[in-house]
Structure formats: structure tokens, C-alpha cells
Symmetry: C2
DNA sequence: CTACGTGCAAAAAGTTTGCAATCGC
DNA sequence: GCGATTGCAAACTTTTTGCACGTAG
């Protein structure tokens, strides 16, 4: 019963080709390049499907609208780093690991989410930084450029 | 220029007397008990002030509206635990600590936010749990009761 | 008394939903 | 052809803003 439509294809492609989490609006803009007349409602409806199918995952950062990223990257357990200077969001593929002990007694930890804040290599002075842009997997501003 | 109004006092009191992060709506309801006719706009305006004054802090959980909690608790660096069963939110006063190494080279970590998800003592079977409700610092549902 | 703060209502911004038209299968 | 999917517009929800009035200092 799941049909293949140009819209769904374009939306999925937009998310998967992005190297960073996209907002619904950004997905609309990107997918619109393929499917003119695409409506935001369709984007939301497909996002909901894709979330259910677990092909896409939400990234919610405090004070910002939800972003969506392909689960190809998301499946590989990771966290996020937001630069407090340029606001860009990067994927962090490291993990502190054992957090089970953090919970009070009687609590069972199943899952965790971690967001680091600080300065990315680019905004940090950029000496050793310039050579290795580290993992700028996801930009969140300066994108209209 | 910062004036002391009944509204602001009530709003601040509501947040500080709560043992858990409150939504704007909940703050309105609580503070309305003191100041009838209190408007939601006033709540938001005062929250903005209180945030600037750093007397209050935002707690943003994925898919949920922002909650606000007194910085008396928030200053004491902590994290949150949301029960996937009862949806309540608890404060966790432990911290994994050194996360600086997690960031890619060239990145500087200034701050981090961590949310644990799992089952709280109450929802977990509640044997050893019943005796020690651990740190149920913050409830997020079952509150209208 | 003066201007900051408030209440109300309207406006934004983001997301969801109803419905007729469209299109995949 | 049938029914899932779409586009549009309207509804909803949460937060912000404009403006006249109230009130703290």
C-alpha cells in the first residue's frame, strides 16, 4: 500500500543526499527542485511515513525547529555538536558509552541523547583547524550561500 | 528599570516552588492562582526576562514544548531522564564528566546536554524501587491530579 | 507623574487536517 | 478503475507583538 510517488522519492533523496540534518522547510526547498509545486503538507506527511519506516530520524536541538536526517547516518549511533558561534550542527561519531550508572537506583537507561556545544574548528581560530575541517558533516547556517 | 510586579513575583514563585520543569501553560495556570487575569503573554515576557537574568533555565526535550525550571536546581549542573513509560522527567545529578575528547580535532567543547531515556523506578517493576523512589525531582505527567 | 509592565487581541511561525483532484498500481 | 497521495487552504498550537491602560517607583 506504500506507493512510490515523485514527491516521496524527491523528499527522500533530499534527506539522503544532505550531509546534515535538514528542516522541513529546507527539505521542501531542496525537493522542490525536482518536483515543482511540491507542498509543505506533503513534506510533513512523508516525513511522518519515513519516520515510521525508520528511514529518517529527527534531530531536536533546544530552541530550534526539528531537523531530519537519513537513518543511514543515524543508525550508526552518534551525537551532535553545535557551534555556538556559527550555529552549524556537526555529527559526532564518538560516544561516552556507559551511562547506565548515571541513573538513580531502580532506573533503567535504554537510550541517551547528547549534544555538545562549543566552537567548531573553523570558528576556533583555524590554524591546525584549516587543514583538517574535522567532520563538518552538517551545516546549519550559512547555507543559503 | 526592573520592576517588581505581582505578575512577575507569581511567575517566579510558580517556577521555584515546582520540583520539576514547567511548561509556559503550566506556569500560567499555577501563577493564575495568585494573580487572576494573568495573561499568557505576560508569562512569556517574564520568562524571557528570567532567562536573561539567568534565574530560570529552559529544558527542551525532543518533541515536547519547552519547560522552564528554576536555576537554583539548574545551576547545579545536571541532566535529565525521561521515562519512556510514564513520560515523567527527572533530574539526574550525575554527569559523565569529561566529554571534551569526544569532539573532533580542532573543536572545543564548552558545554553539553544529556538526556537519558528509559524506565523510572516506578515503571520498572517497583520492588527495590518502591522503597527508594530515587530522585523523582521532576514529574511531567499525571500532574493535573 | 512617568514610563515600564500588563492584558487583550491580532499576528507570526510551524505543523496538521479536510477535501477535491490526481496518479500509481 | 480504485484508492492512496497530493496540493491547496483552512485550522490549530505555540509564541510574539501592537496598543491602550494600569501601576510601581
Amino acid at each position: 500500500m506504500e506507493r512510490t510517488t515523485r514527491q516521496k522519492t524527491a523528499i527522500q533523496a533530499a534527506i539522503e543526499s544532505a550531509r546534515r540534518p535538514l528542516s522541513a522547510q529546507e527539505i521542501l526547498e531542496e525537493a522542490s527542485l525536482q518536483v515543482t509545486q511540491l507542498g509543505i503538507a506533503t513534506v510533513y506527511r512523508n516525513l511522518k511515513s519515513l519516520l515510521l519506516e525508520e528511514k529518517v530520524q529527527v534531530v531536536t536541538l533546544p530552541g530550534e525547529n526539528p531537523r531530519y536526517e537519513s537513518n543511514a547516518v543515524a543508525n550508526h549511533h552518534h551525537h551532535h555538536f553545535q557551534c555556538t558561534t556559527c550555529q552549524r550542527v556537526f555529527d559526532v561519531h564518538d560516544c561516552p558509552g556507559d551511562l547506565k550508572r548515571m541513573a538513580p537506583q531502580g532506573f533503567v537507561v535504554e537510550r541517551h541523547e547528547l549534544t555538545l556545544y562549543g566552537r567548531c574548528a573553523d570558528c576556533n581560530g583555524a590554524d591546525a583547524a584549516a587543514s583538517t575541517p574535522a567532520s563538518p558533516a552538517a551545516h546549519s547556517c550559512a547555507d543559503h550561500a
